[in-house]
């Protein structure tokens, strides 16, 4: 083990995750893998305990007839079983995949019917879930042909594992997406190893590190950075329940202080949540943190600065806040900022960017972008124009990734695979530019709003609307509604607001239009106000543009009054 984590890299064979973990458990069974924090309680899991439990799951899967290459879906709440059930499937060559769990707020019938497509497409052999789910699952999907293993079932004693080579497909990572559109990203053992090797090197991950996380494991950020990578390298993880964390975000600081954690990955919204829902009186010593890494949503300079201003005095100044460009189709990270220094931010001339799609640096009144750092080892990043040519530094185009971490395709979805993956290059549909070797992400290709030939990013329009008093924080969406008659898009901004008088709503509508105009130069066609909870979200909690556009078109002629 010392040769593995101690040398800060994966030295020598074996290199696949299963062989590595089995070896860790054999050599150092009492080494800490994970400290699980839930229900006000803490439970340590060692490598020995994890592998014992995983082998019990492996035997249970065998009894359910699971073969090498079969898909095993896992829908469980936070707890030790998450890790053991996933590893157990990989140990017998099956492909595990986490799916989001059913929350008390969701309608069980809608939840399960939305999963019918995933069950059908993956042809999953087995679903691991908890007993409470059984009734609603059977009611919603009476004909589903999937074996079910309940968490409450007694696990068989482990049988000896067959000797096997762990290569090729290792697991599926289901992309976020609205109902029925989830795609199973196939990750191979080779790509996972390449990612772990390169990303650990980029952040200097070593045995002295300790990761604090509240991230769900059905998302690549939690799955790779806070489970698979540390598991391979023997880096302990302190894992909080995602539900508990959302209700009490200060738990993260408690965990960091108590266990002297060094690394944390957070989506951009979490920086805001920590600023608004943590007591201003409370103090922590967070000096142990080497880096708090913002990824999986567009990183905003303002968010990071706000956070550093609030928590800098406790040890989380701007030099500790880092950025990363990551996506499931590249296992996880593609680029990473340099730890120890604040990520670079630049200010670009808005007019030049909107009309010529290129970056001209300016000192003031521009659009600010924060760098996501450099490509990690073995990952190639290029910026592509419409004819697949490479764009030079400072030109905005589609980000395309190549190299050893690129995924193997979408599981049983060749049409989608062919559309996005060619000759080992993955078209991300994210827009960005390179500058001095660093990647800046400007938006999503699908989220680009082109109005009279001028490009606007939906994120920027929403950011502006979000600042308007009366708009519910984070609850607005800018949608380009293409008008065949004029050949251009009308932009509609839908914002959730509280109930109020018509006068008050007229004021808010006006303020939204003025606010967006002032910040982006775009006068939106319409600022539509909808009641709280109207906007449709994807399973990972992002507001879905396409779904809301559909809904908006359906209701366009009806008044959607809050």
């Amino acid at each position: 083990m010392a040769g593995v984590a101690g040398s800060r890299q994966l030295g020598g064979a074996p290199a696949d995750i299963c062989s590595l973990v089995l070896r860790h458990a054999e050599l150092e069974p009492r080494r800490l893998f994970c400290q699980i924090v839930m229900d006000g309680d803490e439970k340590a899991i060692t490598y020995g305990e994890l592998v014992d439990a995983a082998r019990c799951y492996a035997s249970a899967y065998r009894r359910h007839g699971v073969q090498s290459g079969d898909v095993v879906l896992i829908i469980l709440r936070h707890g030790p079983e998450l890790f053991a059930s996933f590893l157990g499937a990989m140990l017998i060559g099956a492909l595990p995949s986490f799916l989001p769990f059913l929350t008390s707020k969701q309608n069980p019938e809608l939840y399960w019917t939305s999963h019918a497509t995933v069950f059908a497409r993956t042809g999953a052999r087995l679903l691991v879930t908890w007993k409470d789910n059984l009734q609603s699952l059977r009611a919603a999907l009476p004909d589903v042909s999937i074996a079910i293993h309940l968490k409450e079932d007694t696990l068989p004693t482990p049988e000896p594992l067959e000797q096997r080579e762990y290569q090729g497909s290792a697991f599926l990572q289901h992309s976020s997406g609205t109902t029925g559109l989830k795609k199973g990203v196939v990750i191979t053992h080779e790509a996972l190893c390449a990612q772990t090797r390169a990303y650990a090197k980029a952040i200097g991950l070593g045995a002295e590190d300790r990761i604090a996380t509240w991230l769900p494991l059905y998302h690549d950020m939690g799955l790779v950075s806070c489970f698979l990578m540390p598991l391979m390298l023997g880096v302990p993880v302190v894992a909080l329940d995602p539900f508990e964390w959302v209700a009490r975000p200060a738990m993260l600081f408690d965990a960091i202080e108590r266990y002297r954690c060094t690394l944390v990955w957070l989506p951009n919204f979490a920086f805001h949540h920590l600023c608004t829902a943590v007591s201003r009186e409370a103090r922590w010593n967070l000096q142990s943190v080497r880096a708090l890494i913002d990824c999986s949503e567009p990183c905003k300079a303002e968010s990071l600065e706000l956070f550093a201003a609030r928590f800098g005095g406790m040890g989380l100044d701007l030099s500790k806040i880092q950025t990363c460009y990551a996506l499931a189709e590249n296992v996880f990270a593609a680029t990473q900022s340099t730890l120890g220094e604040p990520p670079r931010t630049i200010c670009a001339n808005r007019y030049v960017l909107q009309s010529e799609h290129r970056i001209e640096l300016t000192q003031r009144d521009g659009m600010r972008f924060v760098s996501c750092g450099r490509a990690i080892e073995g990952v190639q990043v290029r910026i592509r124009d419409e004819t697949d040519g490479n764009l030079p530094d400072g030109q905005v185009g589609e980000i395309v990734l190549g190299g050893a971490c690129v995924f193997d395709g979408y599981y049983r979805n060749s049409a989608e695979t062919e559309a996005r993956l060619a000759d080992g290059w993955y078209r991300t549909r994210d827009l960005g530019f390179l500058l001095d070797g660093e990647l800046y992400v400007t938006g999503r290709l699908d989220d680009l709003l082109i109005v009279h030939g001028v490009n606007y990013y939906a994120h920027d329009v929403e950011f502006a609307a979000n600042r308007v008093p009366g708009v519910i924080g984070g609850r607005c969406v800018a949608i380009g509604d293409y008008q065949p008659g004029t050949g251009t898009s009308e932009v509609v901004l839908l914002a959730e607001v509280q109930a109020g008088t018509e006068e008050r709503h007229a004021e808010i509508r006006r303020a939204i239009k003025i606010g967006i105009l002032a910040e982006t130069g775009l006068l939106v066609q319409q600022a539509g106000l909808v009641p709280a909870g109207w906007l449709v979200k994807t399973s990972s909690g992002k507001i879905s543009r396409s779904e809301n556009l559909k809904r908006f078109r359906q209701q366009k002629h009806k008044a959607a009054k809050p």
Binding site: M38, D39, G40, S104, K105, F243, E244, V246, A247, R248, P249, M251, F269, H273, T276, A277, V278, S279, I472, G473, G474, E496, Q498, A499, P531, A532, G533, P562
Partner: protein, 81 residues
């Protein structure tokens, strides 16, 4: 049910969700109150803890069924002080 606690919750909600017209009772759920989503819930919990000087057990925070259960949690916290 302790009316003073319900009144305190209502006042806190009005301030936290910036909506003076919110009216609640023990049966009120998150769906009944505009803007009461999971992130807002965290801010509400923090504000209630500060107002009543209690600390809620983290494990209970996300499976509260209605305002009545929230009030019971506050009452238990006050009793245990």
């Amino acid at each position: 049910m302790n009316q003073a606690i319900l009144d305190g919750i209502q006042q806190t909600m009005r301030a936290e969700f910036r909506n003076p017209s919110i009216v609640i009772d023990a049966a009120t759920t998150a769906e009944d109150v505009d803007g009461w989503d999971s992130l807002a819930h965290a801010r509400l919990i923090l504000a209630l803890e500060e107002r009543f000087g209690v600390t809620f057990p983290a494990a209970r925070l996300f499976d509260l069924k209605n305002v009545g259960e929230l009030a019971e949690l506050i009452q238990a916290g006050l009793a245990g002080r």
